[in-house]
Each structure stands twice: as C-alpha cells, then as structure tokens.
Symmetry: D2
Subunit: 457 residues, 4 copies
Amino acid sequence: MGIPGKDPALSAIHVSIDFDRRLWREDLDGSRAHVRMLGERGVLAPEEVQTILAGLDRVAAEIEAGTFPWREAYEDVHLNIERRLTELVGPVGGKLHTGRSRNDQVATDLRLWTVRRLAELDREVAALGTQLLAQAHAAFERRTVLPFYTHLQRAQPVLLAHHLLAHLEALGRDRERLAAARERAAECPLGAGAGAGSGFPVDPARSAELLGFRRACRNSLDAVSARDFALETLAALSILMVHLSRLAEELILWSSQEFGFVTLGDAVTTGSSIMPQKRNPDGAELVRGKTGRVFGALQALLVANKALPLAYNKDLQEDKEALFDAVDTARLSLRVLTASLREAHFHDERMREAAEARAGYANATELADYLAARGMPFREAHAAVRALVEQARAEGKRLQDLGLERLRAISPVVDDDVLACLETEAALARRAAPMGTAPERVREALAEARARWSDGD
Amino acid sequence: MGIPGKDPALSAIHVSIDFDRRLWREDLDGSRAHVRMLGERGVLAPEEVQTILAGLDRVAAEIEAGTFPWREAYEDVHLNIERRLTELVGPVGGKLHTGRSRNDQVATDLRLWTVRRLAELDREVAALGTQLLAQAHAAFERRTVLPFYTHLQRAQPVLLAHHLLAHLEALGRDRERLAAARERAAECPLGAGAGAGSGFPVDPARSAELLGFRRACRNSLDAVSARDFALETLAALSILMVHLSRLAEELILWSSQEFGFVTLGDAVTTGSSIMPQKRNPDGAELVRGKTGRVFGALQALLVANKALPLAYNKDLQEDKEALFDAVDTARLSLRVLTASLREAHFHDERMREAAEARAGYANATELADYLAARGMPFREAHAAVRALVEQARAEGKRLQDLGLERLRAISPVVDDDVLACLETEAALARRAAPMGTAPERVREALAEARARWSDGD
Amino acid sequence: MGIPGKDPALSAIHVSIDFDRRLWREDLDGSRAHVRMLGERGVLAPEEVQTILAGLDRVAAEIEAGTFPWREAYEDVHLNIERRLTELVGPVGGKLHTGRSRNDQVATDLRLWTVRRLAELDREVAALGTQLLAQAHAAFERRTVLPFYTHLQRAQPVLLAHHLLAHLEALGRDRERLAAARERAAECPLGAGAGAGSGFPVDPARSAELLGFRRACRNSLDAVSARDFALETLAALSILMVHLSRLAEELILWSSQEFGFVTLGDAVTTGSSIMPQKRNPDGAELVRGKTGRVFGALQALLVANKALPLAYNKDLQEDKEALFDAVDTARLSLRVLTASLREAHFHDERMREAAEARAGYANATELADYLAARGMPFREAHAAVRALVEQARAEGKRLQDLGLERLRAISPVVDDDVLACLETEAALARRAAPMGTAPERVREALAEARARWSDGD
Amino acid sequence: MGIPGKDPALSAIHVSIDFDRRLWREDLDGSRAHVRMLGERGVLAPEEVQTILAGLDRVAAEIEAGTFPWREAYEDVHLNIERRLTELVGPVGGKLHTGRSRNDQVATDLRLWTVRRLAELDREVAALGTQLLAQAHAAFERRTVLPFYTHLQRAQPVLLAHHLLAHLEALGRDRERLAAARERAAECPLGAGAGAGSGFPVDPARSAELLGFRRACRNSLDAVSARDFALETLAALSILMVHLSRLAEELILWSSQEFGFVTLGDAVTTGSSIMPQKRNPDGAELVRGKTGRVFGALQALLVANKALPLAYNKDLQEDKEALFDAVDTARLSLRVLTASLREAHFHDERMREAAEARAGYANATELADYLAARGMPFREAHAAVRALVEQARAEGKRLQDLGLERLRAISPVVDDDVLACLETEAALARRAAPMGTAPERVREALAEARARWSDGD
C-alpha cells in the first residue's frame, strides 16, 4: 500500500479505481482464500476468520446492490474494499492483510480475472465455431459451390462447406492457444509478499487450491514481477483477431453488390435512412477495425514490460487496461460474427456462377492434372493447356466447347473421358485426397469437426 | 445517419455515445458554422438560422448543466444533439442537416477537436520546458557538475545545466511536430457530404473560416476518408513520449539510493506505509509505462487505416478512442514531469563526486586531447594515454597523482600546464566550441533558449 | 571507437559492417567537411588537409571500383575507412579524427543519409502523383463514372478523375511530411564529440554548411543521443504506406473478376503458368503486405529509444537497419504503384454499369436533396424517399420508372424537373459546390493539381 | 508457379531468392518426402523416384559446395532447385511437382524450418538457464545477499541465488511457449495443392510422417492460407525478448559505477580505446535494443495477415523475413547473455552493503511483521513502526541502535528477541514459507530447478 503524493497530476495518473474496480469479485475471492488459509494455518483464530468472511460477504452485497461507497481517495479497488471491510467489522479487518502485500495481491487478482475471462472467451469461440459448423452443414446439404480465391482472383471450385471449415480450423487452434494461456496464467502468486516471500507461515499451495489455480508460483520475485501471462493472453487474442478479421473481410466482400454472395440480416447490419435495401456491414467492419486495437494493446504491454529490472515497478499498472480492453474487444467481435453468421443468407446461384464463369477457366488445372495423371510431365502438361486456353480465350469459348477432337489433339493420352473432367462436379470429386474439397471428404470433415467441437465445448 | 440492427452484440459494438460524447463542443461549433454559412448562402432563412442557433445554445446549456438527456438509442453524440435540437425548436431543427452528411460532420468534429487539443498540449510542453529552463538556470548558478553517461558508464564531466538543456532541445522539436500536425489537421471537410460533395450551394471556405481552420479540404472523397491528420498526431505524441520516457528514466535512476542525484518531492512520489523516508517515483514510472500505450494507439490506428478502400468505412470509428487516450496520456505525463521537476532537489555533491571519482578516469580523454592539440596524431595519443591509465590503475592512483615527470615522459610536447588540464573545471572550460559544455557556452545557450521559449510560448 | 570483446556471440551482435557499409558516401563526405573545417580553423595544416582529402578520394575510388578491402575485424564502415586511409596516406590519416568522436560522426552520417534519401523519395512520390494525374486527366476526358463506396457498398456516382484526385491529395500531404522530416533531420551533430562538446576549436556551423545541413545542433548531448529525426522519418513513411496500401487495395479489388473495373498490364502482374488470362496483382499485394513491415520498423525504433538515459547507448545502433529497410520498402512500393497505374486499363462500361445498376438506388439521395432544396425538412424528405424506394424495390423498378405522377404525389414541391434529377449526369452536375464531383469542379481541380504538382516537383 | 511481369520494380519487389535461399534444406527434404510418398502410392514409378532422389542429392551437394547456380530469373529457392533438378536428371524432374502446388510447398518448407529452428532455440534457452543455475548455485554457496528493488528503490534483502532463480522461472515458461508453438507449427500442409486439395491420390499423413510433423493439416484452404504458426512463434519470441531485456537491463545497471554489483568479462564487453578499465556492456545493450526489433517483426506479420480473404495472397510472402530476423535475433541475444553470465564476476560486498545500508531501513518491515505475528492488527503495526523509523531517521540511527527499551515501548507484545529479528540473516530466514528467500527454501528451489532443467534439456 502506497501513500500517493498530493500533486493533482500525480493523483490523476496514479488513481486506478476507475478501471480496476472491475476486479472486485477476484479481489474478494482472493481475500477469502487468503483468510481461510490463514485460519487453517493458525495465524488467525477461527472467529477472526468468520468475522472477516462475513464482512467480505457484506462488501460483496453492497457492491452488487450498488451501495458500496467507492472513494477516489483510496486509489484502487483493493484499498477501497479493505477500508470498507474495517468500517464494517472493526479493527480485525486489518488482519486480513497479514502475510500478504499489495504486490502479491494485485498479481493474484489479475491472474484470477484472466483465467476466468479466458474460460468465457473459449465459450464464445465455441459458439462462433458452432455457427460456422451449422452453416457449413447446411451448405453441404445444398452442395453450394464457389470458387476459392488466390490473389483475389478466382482459382478453382470448392464447396462452401469446405471454405467455412477452413475458418473453423483456425478457430480450433485459437482455442488451443487460449487454453495454453489460461494454463500458464493459473499459477498463484499469493504468498510472495512484497517480493521476498512471506514472513508468516502461509501455505501458497493451499491458497492456489482454494482459488482454483493449478499450482502456486515457485519464486516470490518472479511471482510479483512476471506479466508474461498477460502478454501471452494478448498475443493469443491478437492472433484470434487476425482470424476474425479475415472472416469479417469475406463477409464485407461477399455482401458487396459486386460479389453478391451473401445477404447479412437486418439485425446485424446498419441500414440507410433513405435506401431501405441498403445493408452496411458495420458489424464486420468494426471487427476488422478493432483488430488493430488488440494489436495495439499487445504492443503497449510488451513495451511497458521491456527492460524493467526486477521486481515490482509501477509501470506494471498498465497491464490492466490493456487486458480489459482486449478481452472486451475480442468478446464483442466474437458475438458480432456469431450473430452475423446466424443471420447470413448465402446466394448459391451467384456463387456457382462465379465458379463456372467463362472468364475464369477454373477448369484448366483439371485438364493439366488429367494429362499429368496419364504420364505427361507436369510442366509439359501445363504448357499444352496454356496454349489451348489461349485459343479458347481468343474464340470466346469455354474449354469444353472446343470439342473432343481439339482436346485429343493435345496428346495421345487424352481419352473420351476428358470432357467429363472439365465439369465442376467432376473437378470437386477429383480433389478426393485427404484435406480436399471432394464431397466425400467434406462429409467426413464435417462429422469429425462436429465430434471435436461438441467435445471441446 | 445509419439505422443500426437490433442484435445486442451489434448495438454494443456500434454505439459510440460513451466516448464520442467528448466531442460535444466541437459538434455544436461545427453545426453553428454550418447553419450560419447556410444562412449566408440563402439556403436557410434568417429566422431559421436564428432559431437553430438559439436551440444549439440551449443544448449547450443543458450539457453544461448536466441535464442533457443522453440516450444510447441515438448511438452517437451527433444524433443525440440533433434529436434534442428538434425537440427543443421543432421541425426546423431538421434543416440543420441540409447539405451536410454524417461523414463530413464526423470528420469536421474530430479535426476541430484535434486542432484544439494540440494547441493545449503545446502549452503543456511549454510549461515543462519552462520548468527545465528554471532548473537549468539554477543549476548553472551553482555550477553543478555531473558526469554524462554513455552505455550507462561515466564518460566526461558536464554541467547539469547543459544536461537539462539537452532535454529542452528535444522538447523544442516536439513542439514543431505538434504544430505541423495541427497545421495539417486544420483543413475543413465540411461540405464534402457523404463523399461526392454537396448538392446544395454550400461554401466550404466560409465554413472553414468560421471554425478557425486554415482552409477547406480540396476533394470530397479525400475529406471524408482521410485520417492521416490523426496518424500524424499520434506519431508526434509517440515521439514526445519517447522524450518524456527518457527524462522519466533519469529521474528514476537518479533517485535510486545508488545514484542519489536527486530527491523528488513528497507531492510527486508515493510513500511507503511503513518507511517514511521512502519515495517511490511512481509518477515517473507511470510516464515510462504509459509510453507503450501511446505507441499502441498509433499502431492501432495505423492498422485500422491500412488497405481501406475509399471512401468511408466503419473501421474509421476507431480513430476517436485512440486519439482521446493518447492525448489524455500525453497531457498527464507532461504535467507529472513538470510537477516532478518543480519539486526536484538535486544533490550537487553526489553528482560532483560521481564526476571526479577515481574509478572513472574521466579526465583521460583530456590528456589525449592535450597531446593531439600539440600535434601528436590522435590514435597515437590515445595509445600513450591508455598505457598511462593502465599504470595509474595498477597503482590505484589518479592521473594527476602520477606526477609531472611521468606525464612529461610521454612525449616532448607535454608541458607544465598538463596538470591543469586534468582538473574538472579545466575539462569543462576546454569544451568551448559551440554546442559544448563550457560555462560560457552554456550561459549563451541558456539565454538563447530563454528567448526562444518565451517567444514560442 | 570501441574495442569489442572476443566472445563470438558478442562479435556477431556487434559487427555492423554488413549493413552500415551503405553509409560510405556519407561517411566520406562527413570526413571531407570535417577535415576542411579543421584546415580553415588552423587545427590542421593545409598540406595535411590536402593529403587527407586525396586519401579520401582514393578510398572512394576503391569502393566504387569494388577493390576496397572491407574487413569484419574493423566492425563498421567508419573504422574500415579510417584504417584504409591511414594505410594509403600514412600516420597523418590519424589526424582526421581530431576533434571528432565516433558518437558525433555516426549521428552525422545517418542524418546525411536520411536527408538525401528523403529528397529521393519525394521525387518518387512526385512520379506516382504525376501518373495519377495523367490517368485522372484521361478519365476526365472520357467522363468515366463509377460509384464511390461507403462500407464497400455503392453510394453515389462520381467521376473516376475525382476518385483518383482523392489519392493525389493524400500523397500531397505525404510530401509535406517527408519535407518536414527532412528539415528536422538536417541539423548537423558534427562537433559534439563524444557528448560534452569538442575540446578543439571546431566550427560546427561551418561543418553544417559544407554538408548542406540547414544548421548545426545546439547541444552536444542532444546531438549524439537524439534519434527523433529517424522516428519522424519512419512515421512519415508509415503514413505514406497507409496511403499506398489503400490505393493497392483498390487495384486488387478492381482487378477481381467481380469488380472488373481495371486490367493491370502484363508488366506489373504475375501470370499463371497455365491460365494465360490470369493476372495476379502481386505487385499491389506486396505493397499492401509490406505496409506492416514499415509499421514494424517504426515500432522497433520507438521501442529501442524508449526510456534510454542520455547520452549514447549501444541500443541506438538499431536505428540503421530500421531506416534502411523502411526507405527501401517505400521506394519500391512507390515504383510498383507508379508502374501499375501507368499500365492500368480502366473499363469504363463496367464502372458506369456499377454506378447505375438498379440494385443501388444511388439516385435516392438526389431525390431527397431535391425535396430538401425545395423546403422540406431534411429528415422528412428522407422518410418520404425511403417509402418510395421501398415501393420501387417491391416492384423491381428504378425510381424514374415509377412515373412522374407517383413522384409528384410525395409533396406539392415536386415539379416536372424531378425526373431529370434522377439521371447520373444530373447527379454529378448537382455536386457543384467546391470539393464536389461536378465536371466543372473536377476540371478546376485537375488544373489546380497540375499547377501544384509541377511546381512541387 | 507464377510468371512475373517485366517491370523492374515488380521484379525487385517480387524476387525472394535473396532471402528464401535459407530454406534450401527444408525445400529439399520436403521434395524428398513428397517424391517418396508418390512412389509409395504408385503415382511415380520406383525408378522415377530413385532418379529424382539422386538428383536432389546432387542439388544438395552443389549447394553445400557453393557451386549451385542460383539465378535471380528463377525468383525463389523453389524454382531454382526445381529447374536445376531438371537440368541434372532430365524431364523426369518435372514429375516432382505432380500433385503438389507452390502454395502447399511453400507453407510446408516454412513450417519445417520453423519447427527445426524452435528446437534449436530451445537448446539455446536451456544453455542460458544452465548458466543462470550455475551462477545461482555459486552465489548460494557464498550466501550472497542483495536488496531486491521495487520502483528501483531498495526493498528487502534477498539471496542473489533467489534473484537469479526468478529469471530462470521466466525462461522456463518461455520454453513451454516455444514448445507449444513448435507443436502447432508441426502440421503438414503438403497435399493441399493450390488450395482445393490434390487431384492425385496423395497421402498427406505419410508425407507428414516422413517429415517428422506430428500430423497433416485437416483442410486444404486452411493449409495454404494459415500463418498463425508464424505469428505464435513471433509472439513467443517477443515474450522471450522481454525476459532477456529485463536480465540485460540488470546487467547494465549492475555494472554501472553507481551499483558496482558486477563486472562483466572482457570477452563480452567493449573497451575504450583510451580507458583500459572501461567495460561498456554493449552486448547487453544490444539485446535490450533488439527487443524492439522482434516486437516489430511480430507487428509486421500481424498487420500483413489482418483481413486477408482466403486463401493464398501474395502478402504472405512477408512471413519469411520477419521470422528469419526474429529467430536470428533471439538466438544471438541468448548467446550474448549466456556468455555474459558465464563471465560475470559478482561483487558480494557491494551487494551486502546495499542490502544493509542505513539509508534503507530495509528491516522496518521485519519489525512490523514481528508485531503482527504477535497479534497486533497489521495496519496498527505499520503505523507504530513508521513513527519509530521517523525517530530513528531524525537521529541518524539504525533501528537496532535505538535500544531494546524504546522498541519495547511500542507494545507489550515486544520481547527481547526483537533485536535478533532486525538482522539481515534473520530477515532472510524468516521468509521461510514456500516461494520465499530463506536459505532452506532457496536450497530446495535450486535442487528442484536443477532436476527440472536437466530433464527438460
């Protein structure tokens, strides 16, 4: 506990109650565990423990009822609660802080908050994944086809279900990263004191257990000065936002009049005051725009931690707002995209049109593969097809419109079945190796993903 | 004006009234200028103009009195004010938006806000500079000497005044950058409409003039989509924070027991609840820690703007919070350092001790320069002095304690005056070329800086 | 000059000759100016000056001929040149370093390099602007129309020339920022010595003049420790890259099959080995992708400078690679976009189609403006038009197809001229206020831009 | 494989052979696995497989011998190798690319490179940890005591071994993060083709197995477009650099004359050309300075990936240089710090002095704890001690010098044993709870760490 100087600028830069108030549940839970442990170790008498616990319950009730007297003069959430406790239960309240320091208390609160929020965020990612799966399943039933793009140029036809599952894969890895960050955040600093360890017979393992952490920290100086759990969390959220921004970008592109692949529902778009058909994809745009904000929070905290000598430095106070904002942003972004997908109406015909449009020659690769599969060296096959496409293009025709004869003229390996290979459905079916977009593969992938996601959820 | 969808997540990500409320003065001023211009151009009748202006005054009065009915349902500050205006003055309030769109209005408000805040920040930088100058002047009067450091190793003695003026130079360039950002922000987008320009006979130059901008924008699409004024502001603030963090770092280092160069006043430090002599430099640490936060805001907005097609995209809504937070942070940091310097008590003896301590051989360079000035090639002089220092070190002596004879043995160019050159005051005096730390130079630099800073302020 | 330790890891992290070799011209020019100034001040004899200058010319010749013996053992470009000089001209070469230290030398070289590169980059931006102007002029001659987009939704018709001029405006501000960075970089640190100033009668103002700087630095400690000129340069380049990435994004979008607004030439796209019509906009994509790289360089150097105590710290060695890479990236990006625009073929019909497509009701705003101009409160006009558009949409009609009668039914203010206002050309013509897209305005804007850009170039 | 356009700027921005050449081993290994798998699946004949494998061996031999003809015209490492293969073995070389595309090949190579480098980096972190452990063990044997710092103010005495183990804990978590990144990088994209999957009967699981990946990717579009493995790697390296920068900062601070806690060896410092005793901690400074560089690489790649629509976009080419540079920087930084610690000589007396200096009253907390342990409410104990310290300070005395009587006057709970609790060794011994700095705890922690680190290595 510090005694802040009186210069108004110092007070203004120092006071954190406006934002760290969010930690009140974690602060109370941390105090409950600490006081219970002190009781078990005989540092506090049973009735002292009971009095303090009852006082903490009253504090909780006041906060929930909105009657708690938050005071700026007490700088932060911790001192506000501590002082209120003593007002409510008398001097014994002062014993709550026995064997604890602000340094280990603050670190415990923020870690506990992080662990809990990461668990919630995992559920939000799961909800978005479930929505993706539902749309993928429906799109598979309709066998919706679209071209996938490289360089934003149409490449080859794929199933929309296959495309949506690609996003799901990325989200699956995001959940792994969130879980890993949660795991490493779940080490309990309580018992580290100001940094040298506690002079009281505290039991950090027990405190950790009471709070649901997986273990206590191992070194007191590390316990009060480490913020890599926050950095790892912000990194995982930044990567998650990369994935959300990619999905958002596609929703924006696809709902443009030029693509016309999707109509987003009224509930998730912003209309024009004058053009009723207008549906601005504001939600998706904000997800995309807020991606930079999470990167910025990561950057801010990396910079704040850089080159800090051990152990506690006041710079570390910056950890809270960065984390709070990034977690809020990620949660909101997940919800916006979940709602957007739920209300998305895909235009199957526009997608198929794009996949089969003459302009694309998306089936040229099929022909080359056909030749290669029959023994022509791959590079030769490419050259031959390129020449043919050039002719077709000059004549304004599709490859299949050139006729069997001209196709057979390429090489003796070409058979009558060549025409079939140029059809969209044939192209899809040919991508039948694992990972591929062939309907049988996508059916399996859907089943496998459903199993994995219902498990994980 | 958009009509947001009803999904709660969309509303939550979309509503900006919580933070853009800060723009209310600028929004009202923008509206006043717009309605006056419309009156002058005959688009609105004089009595319409009067009614709307009176209504805007009532809105201002309500906001200042805290009685304004802010409503989340109206999303942002602009619609809140517009709707309230119509409630207060009737349907004519609807004419305020004639020839204007939300896109040019929003851009105007934020530019106006930025121009005003940059002017205020300039005064805060000036205040810090004035404090630096005052301390530099006082330190010069005391002829306080300390070593300057390279690699955090003591290098050569300099006047503390000279050291403080180095920080002043950096701040001077920061003011230039803030002024340049202000200049480029002061271009008025009003009249750009949604992006294609206005269909009404608006007079952008007149709107610009009424608002104190230096000119109107030149292209309507650029006017609504450009945010480089915000990026440039954030960049200037980031560089300013680099300079503040360097000053903060020195205050932290110098107030450690190891350096002991400065005691920061009670008003700007945080005490310990148990050790009355303890003065934690929390203010300086927070300035240092918050540096990353401003970098993060810059990064966030750079990322949000990257690769956005023209013209308006909702991503741009992210400009406000980044700017608000960075401006607040810079202002607070400036004030904290100004207060810290005002209350700083420098320990002249500790500084001089550090400058003259035997460990340093800070005068070895003087001897080498002495030799070079008498015609010895510089590299040779270096080698000779290095050998001598090695001997002195082995004997645990200062260079001057080796005696004139051994010094003269180096080379025939060495004269009796060599001993004098080894004294701290002589070392200072020798740095008499422009830029240098010689007292006469520093006296001039102080006078010149005072002239420049009182001018600029 | 330091003597590096022998641990291989230290050598590897320390040696900079691989990248700072690029500074050789600036290092030689800095040395020439320094030695001339020393001669003028009588510190060196005329023949010493001549010998050293001749030696520096021989060094330059060797480097240009590729015969210069670069040696890793001499760590950096400065020592390599200095040692070679002494090999070529004998011990007098050692006098070159009189009154100079590595600290002021390094800072001078990098500032000189920056000033020169910024001048070159300005010419590259001018070249891109000239190309934009040429395309804008041609598009104006053809009166090419496209919709501008908000939220990537079609908004209202504008002239393509108007759209291209929006990008030009942004580039104009970039040139101002590059010029400002150049101005502030052009302060000469030579004479600061290691940090305390020089003990020799050097003349920093003269050195500055000989090197084309606008003035000498004012404070020796600031001179060797300030890197804000590099930060400001990286910030200006980051903002420039934002603008280039926006242009690149449009080229990528517009060259997709879905938009079909532009065909980029063979010279600036990458073809497919199999589909001759394929034109991947690799150049534009790389510009977009490399934008993050310049942001990263800015962040890297901000972070390296944060909280460094005065004066020189080895961390500052990081300034070079960040600057080199960002300057190279910006230059290449400018050239790629200049070439892309030069070879761009715009598809006027596709653009006009997009501007007039029934789906858009891009003329609904025109009707609302028409009503407002005739005295209907703006918000009422909006509501009325919205109702009408809803009807038209239900009937699958354009607004003009609803017939005069139904239009007049909206309000008595509607006249026979209402139909005309719904045509694209009329919509363009109505945006006749300054900044707007009306042909007469765009003609003026083109003329004005041409004057400004030929001036500035 | 793309056919790049001929504009020189496009070529310059496009060609990657200068930097992706580093992937040659991975490219060859990927090709070997692919061709073996094709043989096993009957796509290639056994003799074709043998010919190609022999050819790849010849390519490897040429590269290792430095005789390989790298050609800029072939843009990248992949095409250079492929073309050379065909030159060496004839047209059958063209069959190597059967069932593979540049998109899955590039992703495979970079993942393989990342997996291998992460394994190497883990060994480098282990080496640094081992060095920390060795120094901690030695410091424990000497029972070296120093104060730990909060706010860079002396706080309480701790064992140096305890302090060093705090850094070790952070490195342990870094290894976990590197391992997690390696795990997620080890998914094999080979078989994804251009993005839709392969039309040949490839066996991705077998390719994965041959390359030592833990499994194949699950979705072809995800396989070619995902770069989160690179982002996660850069994030783990950024956090590692935070930890290295904190250790570096302490080495810099501690080797200043003001602290005097450590002398770094000649091999890892840079000397002055003139002052033989000077040891600039250049290595540690460069580690600190290069921290920003790794943050910058992370930001650069986050930005490049943001909002990219699926699947492959040329922007992704930016992944390589960012990864290469960050891995090189981290490796070098680890080695520099390992060498620095190996050669560090700690000054035990200076450290103990700092821990016991009168100025600190570092034992005030002990007294407060003593009172609290005897039943005084913690806050009351604090107030009493604060008053006593104020007196001691006024009298210029240490607490123990005030005499037993005055100590007992505080409260009846004070006993004769109070004086003992004020000694440094007693203070250390009292921190005997888990995590704490009591010698018995630190002995256990050392043993535990040794077991863990020899295991993990």
